[in-house]
Amino acid sequence: MKTKNVSSVELTEECLKNALRSKNNTYISLLNDSAVLRAKKADEEIHQNGTMTLLHGIPFSLKDLFITKGIRTTAGSKMLFNYIPPYESFVAQSLLDAGGILIGKTNLDEFGMGATNETSAFGPVLNPLDPKKSPGGSSGGSAVSIIEESSYFSMGTDTGGSIRLPANYCGLVGYRPSYGRVSRYGQIAFSSSLDQAAPIAQCVLDIACIMELISTKDRRDETNLELGKLDLVSNLLSLDLKYIQGKKIGLSEHLLDECEEDVKIEMLKALAHFKKMGAELVPISLPHLKESLPAYYAISSGEASSNLARYTGSLFGLQKSNHELTSAHLKDHYFEQCKTNRTSGFGDEVKFRLLIGALSLLPEKGESLFKKASQVRRLVCQDFELAFSHCDFIFSPVSRTVASDLNSSISFETDSKNDFYNVPASLAGLPALALPFGKGKNNLPTGFQLISKALSDSELLKIGHAFELSLGRDVV
């Protein structure tokens, strides 16, 4: 755009064309006219003053879990099918202020609860690499929007792997920042102590451009930390392959045992590549991985049962029951109406998580499952602290398999296995970068993730970028 080889309007129209042509059920709301209008404005601004930011005039998509002023925001739920927010989320505002062009709101697992993007009230998202496969969830629409070229990057969220899994299934780069790095203001809450806004793009440099814009302090989120501006892009551009030399990459014993053979082979190749580039592979121990999964479900569902208590249909959202009842003895009907609205508004997976949440918050002999899970959470954090005293980064697969089949899982065990590798970093609030590497069964992408110490986002993106450079990927 700087050299006027292409205009924002051209990029936007191309993206919209691809979105309309798509059969992947990627978007819940598409912003045809307003996107083109914004692109025209961006072209004028660029013509007059040059590009304002690295994302000026670039089309992007937003997971429909971010509140957008005047634009329907559904969280993938029937409960909010008609909700039009009167305010803007921090993430949306930051990207729009930077001159980004919002193409549309992407499909997702309902309220972010799911790992295959099949729990959306708006139907499943299909993986363009194989329509019988899941694109991963819950930010499946975000990943697919990039693959089908209807956006150049997307903002999703990551609670227990919701950006890393779609990135892995679709061969993209997904980034879960440190907890507290990005404001959650206006991000519809699933599990407040685990939710993080999370970008997905084609390369680490794109992720860095986005992170620079959204890592500013926002006082409206008490958990958002005052960390100063991240200067990522210039750091990455001045980086060379030597950055990997001497870095210690930790690998927990038996971690790869859970992976299917095709994935395991690629993981070993990735580790060998790190070694070839001068990294040192260090054995570490993460002894509470087994407990992480139930701890994650107890905590996230417990928090969800509180966060989703507000959806009663009494003020906004689905109002299934709307009888004007006059008789005073019908006072109990208030709760009946709430139940009717919630039962009709929430999908099966959300209902299941709410039941888990209620169960985990029930005191049993004075102690709830939620409390026990939070004790385990502390142990998981301690495990990571100890591991990082021996290494700079921790290597882990993202998924046991390549993209899973749609309609394949009904049991809790199979569902939750998708999250196995992703929840430990979430519980500990650590940044995690999912990078594509290699191909597995049916030529579908595989990949791994690197995890670093809390708030070491900059170092993590540097090694990710250096790894991409070492593969000779076109990353600019």
Binding site: P86, E291, P294, L325, L369, L379
Partner: protein
């Protein structure tokens, strides 16, 4: 130890969650919740017992209360576009909700 959630407990959880459960889905829910409970057995380990629970990962936060700032309010019309029932620029409960709320305020609602 193999745990199974009883129907009574399931219905109690549904009540707490303000949900009505469909009869044909009870068995599946029972089985999935039991699976979760069995998976959670490992959280009962004695090594966790005396640990301080960790409820948040916010590090270095000073939780300084933000200063009040005067800003214009949200647009009332836009806020109210999300409800079907409104009266005099305010949300309006339907009648049953109003009476329940009144009863609740006067302490009559259990």
């Amino acid at each position: 130890m193999n745990c199974k959630i009883s129907l009574d407990v399931l219905n109690y959880l549904a009540e707490l969650s303000m949900l009505k459960l469909e009869k044909e889905k009870l068995e599946l829910l029972q089985s999935r919740l039991s699976e979760f409970l069995n998976l959670s057995n490992c959280l009962n380990g004695s090594e966790f017992k005396n640990l301080e629970p960790l409820y948040s990962n916010v590090v270095n936060s000073q939780f300084i209360p933000r200063e009040d700032q005067i800003k214009s309010s949200l647009d009332i019309e836009k806020v109210l576009q999300n409800t079907r029932l409104k009266k005099l620029n305010q949300f309006k409960f339907n009648t049953s909700m109003e009476s329940a709320l009144n009863d609740s305020e006067s302490g009559e609602l259990n």
